[in-house]
């Protein structure tokens, strides 16, 4: 029997925005005078209600953070993870994740995550992320050497979690730390599971070489199969056991409806996430963040008068069935969603961890709750039984 899980995810968007054509970018530059803090209070409570309900239904929780953007009001995953840790009792808690290329002090990350792990009595699944290019300006972190900082930060965090005989010092290339001796230390031994998301097979190799766990986000079935396959092979090449389905995770969007019509409405509601993520090109096309080969192509098109487009821009208008066929959306009645996940699972070589965005933009708590309930009661039990 497979331990198939669904980590419910909402990006905690601020949905009360003027039409997209009235502003250049929802990220970085949108004036926060458009944010109503009174409405914002209700939103935060609604979002944490979703997570508490997920826990009560036996589902798990995924969190993320972004900055200076209306698309995500989770300002820091240590904050939201701490709230969820206190408000839930059995859910695994996956911040995906801590943007450790951007955080200036990895030791603080180690200590914050240890606190969440202890507070939750060992329910933390700890994600480390490089961060998206739109974070470069808000964080004012050089876009050069992000992966080098990422891996050094991860090494320092793991050492901080696993050193128990008094302080150590760290004088690395990117980080320096003195008298590292975190209190508390993690609840889980030797440390919480580590997850790294990527959309690149190359990064999957580096994740495998450290024996961490791998997640991928909206790559579709084909992309996920490629990345997971590379990850499994790289782990073997590095001398580790081949990672099983419990070591990989996939993030898509899910709505489970009581009828096909209800599901279709829910699927369309999820599409808000794709349609309201406007970012000015200069915040996506950041020198040093993107490979210069890719940037050269973007610049050449720009010179010809072609504005760069997101590679997934077409998804905003694609038929819902196409999004389902691509493995980006899982939408339907419980029977249909079970079949969609089973097909995905077969194609990618097994994936126990679904990281499903089940709420976007203006969706209500009640709508989201009904979808989560069907997922918990009619989808996951069957997947656990029926998946090989």
């Amino acid at each position: 029997m497979r331990d198939v899980r669904n980590y419910v995810f909402t990006e905690m968007a601020y949905p009360y925005l003027p039409p997209d054509e009235t502003f250049e970018s929802a990220r970085v530059t949108l004036p926060n005078e458009l944010y109503d803090p009174v409405a914002g209070s209700d939103l935060y409570h609604s979002y944490f209600d979703i997570y508490r309900a997920a826990d009560e239904l036996g589902l798990d929780v995924m969190l993320n953070e972004h900055h200076s953007t209306a698309t995500c009001l989770d300002a820091a995953v240590p904050l939201s993870a701490a709230i969820v840790a206190r408000e839930t009792s059995t859910a695994r808690i996956l911040p995906l994740g801590n943007p450790i290329s951007n955080r200036t002090d990895p030791v603080r990350v180690a200590e914050e995550m240890a606190m969440v792990d202890v507070l939750s009595r060992g329910r933390l699944q700890c994600g480390f992320v490089r961060g998206v290019p739109m974070e470069v300006s808000p964080q004012n972190i050089p876009p050069i050497g992000m992966y080098e900082r990422f891996w050094e930060a991860a090494d320092l965090i793991v050492k901080a979690w696993t050193t128990h005989d008094g302080p150590f010092n760290w004088e690395g290339e990117h980080f320096q730390a003195r008298q590292v001796n975190i209190w508390p230390r993690p609840h889980q031994q030797p440390h919480p599971p580590i997850w790294v998301p990527t959309q690149s097979a190359g990064t999957g190799v580096m994740v495998a070489e450290r024996n961490y766990n791998l997640a991928t986000i909206l790559t579709g079935t084909e992309g996920a199969a490629n990345i997971f396959g590379t990850f499994r092979k790289a782990a073997l090449d590095a001398g580790f056991a081949e990672p099983g389905p419990e070591r990989v995770a996939y993030s898509g969007l899910m709505f489970v409806g009581g009828s096909e019509a209800e599901a279709a409405d829910g699927g369309e509601a999820l599409r808000w996430y794709l349609r309201h993520n406007k970012a000015a090109p200069q915040f996506m096309d950041v020198p040093g963040y993107l490979d210069p080969t890719i940037r050269a192509r973007i610049m050449a098109k720009w010179a010809q008068g072609e504005a760069p487009r997101s590679p997934i821009a077409y998804l905003t208008e694609a038929p819902l069935q196409e999004l389902i066929d691509l493995g980006m959306f899982f939408v339907g009645t419980p029977d249909q969603v079970v079949e969609q996940v089973k097909a995905f699972d077969r194609a990618v070589g097994g994936c126990d961890n679904l990281l499903m965005m089940m709420h976007t933009g203006p969706m209500t708590f009640e709508t989201t709750y009904q979808s989560m309930k069907l997922c918990a009661e009619e989808v996951l039990p069957r997947l656990r039984e029926e998946l090989d």
């Binding site: 970085v28 530059t29 040093g288 210069p292 610049m299 050449a300 720009w302 010179a303």
Partner: protein, 285 residues
């Protein structure tokens, strides 16, 4: 997205010249030479040598112009330990020491001018004079006022408008795929050396008084990349002291591209005058 100035653009002229690798201590730099006469060192700005062919050729009428690609630009080495303009300044001390028998004039543009100044505050043993064309590298605005357009926030069209003002600008449609790759790598190199603090070294103004060779600051009357180009040029002159003077020329921040002949002429005149001053004062460490 129409590129606003494309209609007024000029075809890119990379210039002629021989390219070879030269050693600067343990680092190899790709150096392009053109012209004939006494050596003159040209330190490029943000876009490397891609658009500076005309000014180098104009300078080459009187000098052998030696233009190294900075590390991380072109075929020059990319050593990971070179992270700051300070690091580049020591590299260029090696370069000048290794390649020059006598002090030579240095002409440097924008980011290159910042590098040249960082070299000159340490030693002018191999620098006869400095021509700083639309320099960046010091900060004069208060903590809430940037001196330069933020290229990471403005978007490519606005950055080009800031660099070129109303004047002529290169027609990017004439670039080859390799040129775009060169530019992409150049922008990555700029992110390495100048992202934070943005295009300046807070400590540099306190050492500029050490520049003891004649220094000419050229600034463009239509420079919209620098917040107040006249005041900014004046700040450089004030920080360097009596060895420095500023001249306004017509053009934008890319003065050497837009007014190549005027920059070369002003530089040649200045170098002629500077040579006399240097002999008289015995300047040069």
């Amino acid at each position: 997205m129409a590129e606003a100035g494309a209609a007024t653009g000029t075809a890119v002229s990379p210039g002629t010249g021989e390219s070879k690798m030269v050693a600067a201590g343990p680092v190899s730099l790709e150096e392009v030479r053109c012209g004939s006469g006494r050596p003159l060192v040209f330190l490029h700005g943000e876009d490397g040598l891609l658009f500076s062919g005309p000014v180098r050729e104009a300078l080459g009428a009187g000098f052998e112009v030696r233009a190294p690609h900075h590390p991380w630009w072109g075929r020059s080495d990319r050593p990971g330990h070179l992270r700051t303009v300070e690091d580049l300044s020591y590299l260029y001390l090696d370069y000048l020491e290794a390649t020059l028998d006598e002090p030579a004039p240095v002409v440097a543009t924008s980011f290159g001018a910042w590098v040249a100044a960082a070299v000159a505050v340490k030693s002018t043993a191999k620098i006869a004079s400095l021509t700083l064309v639309a320099p960046v590298g010091i900060k004069v605005g208060d903590r809430e006022t940037r001196d330069f357009v933020d290229v990471y926030a403005a978007g490519p069209d606005r950055v080009r408008a800031a660099n070129y003002g109303d004047g002529v600008r290169p027609d990017l449609r004439s670039l080859a795929a390799d040129d775009f790759f060169y530019l992409a790598e150049a922008q990555e190199a700029m992110a390495r050396f100048a992202f934070r603090p943005y295009l300046h070294d807070p400590g540099l103004p306190y050492w500029l008084h050490r520049i003891d060779v004649p220094t000419l600051v050229l600034w463009g009357s239509d420079d919209r990349f620098v917040r107040d180009p006249k005041a900014y040029a004046a700040a450089w002159v004030a920080a360097i002291g009596s060895n420095a003077q500023a001249i306004e020329l017509p053009g934008g921040h890319r003065l050497e591209e837009q007014s190549a002949a005027a920059v070369a002429e002003a530089t040649a005149d200045f170098i002629g005058t500077a040579a006399g001053r240097r002999e008289t004062t015995g300047a040069g460490r």
